[in-house]
């Protein structure tokens, strides 16, 4: 409980700031903005500003800001930090040392795959660990497809911003028409990234302080977030059918397939959208 009171207080302050600091870039039409952004393919790139460039395409109707993304993810960010601390603990215990788990959190930045790799690496070796993590992250291919229209800008900018895609940042940045709001995704993803890497550092060096995260019910907190984000998605019969079918496919495959496959296979449920004309 205590971990979360800070961010929730901060989020209300962030909300007040966010209202004041809307910029005028939403007035530029989406098509024009993305065309301009794509042409700007010059080598003159400042690494530090890539993740936060503000001139990319934004859906015009409701301009949302990076702060909206920070605010949207605030309820779950402390849980992600504790979760990643437990990853650090487990990784060090599994003999990965201290640097490798931190590098993994910074580059892979995907909870379930990292836990799976750690669980398998000791017994199954490198290939098994890579296979398990790859299957668990395969869902990011279709997810990244839904993000594509929102991300224009240079090759490098798209590459860097796409790394901020995780289940949670993608879920909170949904615009409701199948796409995402880029700024919300970047704001939420950046917040999660710092929590994730910071949590791993704490876990790696402060192993014994954490204990078992399941004691705090954290394993139920993430599905609760996904459920809360699912409900507003259920606007018509097709969405309800896709949700039910997705859950059914996933549950049916859990007993008979390797971890990760149920979730990837569930994405096939969205094919019922082909029936909608």
């Amino acid at each position: 409980m205590r971990e979360s009171s800070g961010p929730s207080l901060r989020s209300s302050r962030v909300r007040a700031l966010g209202r004041r600091s809307r910029d005028g870039s939403a007035a530029v039409s989406r098509a024009t903005a993305s065309r301009c952004a794509r042409r700007r393919f010059e080598p003159r790139i400042v690494i530090g500003s890539i993740a936060l460039t503000a001139d990319n395409a934004t859906p015009a109707p409701a301009a949302r800001t990076y702060r909206d993304g920070v605010r949207a993810i605030a309820p779950i960010a402390p849980m992600a930090a504790i979760f990643s601390a437990s990853f650090g603990v487990l990784a060090t215990a599994a003999g990965m040392g201290t640097v490798a788990p931190i590098v993994m959190s910074a580059t892979t930045f995907a909870g379930s795959a990292q836990f799976a790799a750690v669980a398998v690496i000791g017994t199954g070796g490198a290939l098994a660990a890579i296979g398990a993590a790859g299957l668990l992250n395969a869902r990011y291919a279709p997810i990244s497809l839904t993000v594509a229209p929102a991300m224009s800008g240079s090759f490098l900018s798209r590459l860097v911003q796409s790394q901020l895609i995780v289940d949670e940042s993608w879920a909170v940045s949904q615009t409701g028409d199948g796409g995402v709001d880029r700024r919300v995704l970047v704001g939420a993803g950046t917040t999660l990234w710092f929590c994730w890497v910071g949590g791993t550092v704490v876990g790696v060096f402060g192993a014994e302080l954490i204990g078992d995260p399941e004691r705090f019910g954290l394993d139920a907190a993430f599905p609760a977030l996904f459920l809360a984000l699912l409900v507003p998605q259920l606007r018509d019969r097709f969405a309800v059918a896709a949700a039910l079918l997705g859950a059914a496919i996933a549950l049916a495959l859990v007993p008979v397939s390797a971890a990760g496959i149920p979730i990837v296979a569930a994405s096939a449920a969205c094919l019922i959208g082909l029936a909608r004309r």
């Binding site: 979360s4 892979t108 070796g125 992250n137 997810i143 839904t146 594509a148 590459l159 907190a221 969205c270």
Partner: protein
């Protein structure tokens, strides 16, 4: 290179590629209409699958444990239109209490 670093580097590169494939290949372009009507349903399908597997899945088993109590608490919080923070905390606290009492 040790096994650990091979895994860290390969899994990292693989994940970077998976996350980047959409934005890097198609970035900024609108998706064709049939694709759009399909990906619009990806969020409900994947979110429902994530909820189902992370509540009922335990390795290769389907189980009913303290997480179900958390799911019920989250649903109750959603029904009274509680903010997301309350929904998430309700699930965590209900699950933790159930484990402590069981």
């Amino acid at each position: 290179m040790s096994t650990v670093w091979i895994v860290v580097v390969v899994v990292g590169a693989l994940t970077v590629g998976l996350k980047a494939v959409g934005p890097v290949v198609l970035g900024g372009r609108d998706l064709p209409r049939p694709v759009l009507s399909v990906v619009a349903l990806l969020a409900p399908a994947l979110l429902a699958a994530l909820v189902a597997v992370s509540i009922f899945g335990l390795g290769r088993d389907l189980v009913l444990d303290a997480r179900v109590v958390g799911l019920v608490a989250a649903t109750a919080a959603l029904l009274v239109r509680a903010p997301i923070l309350v929904v998430v905390l309700a699930a965590a606290v209900a699950t933790a209490l159930t484990r402590a009492l069981a």
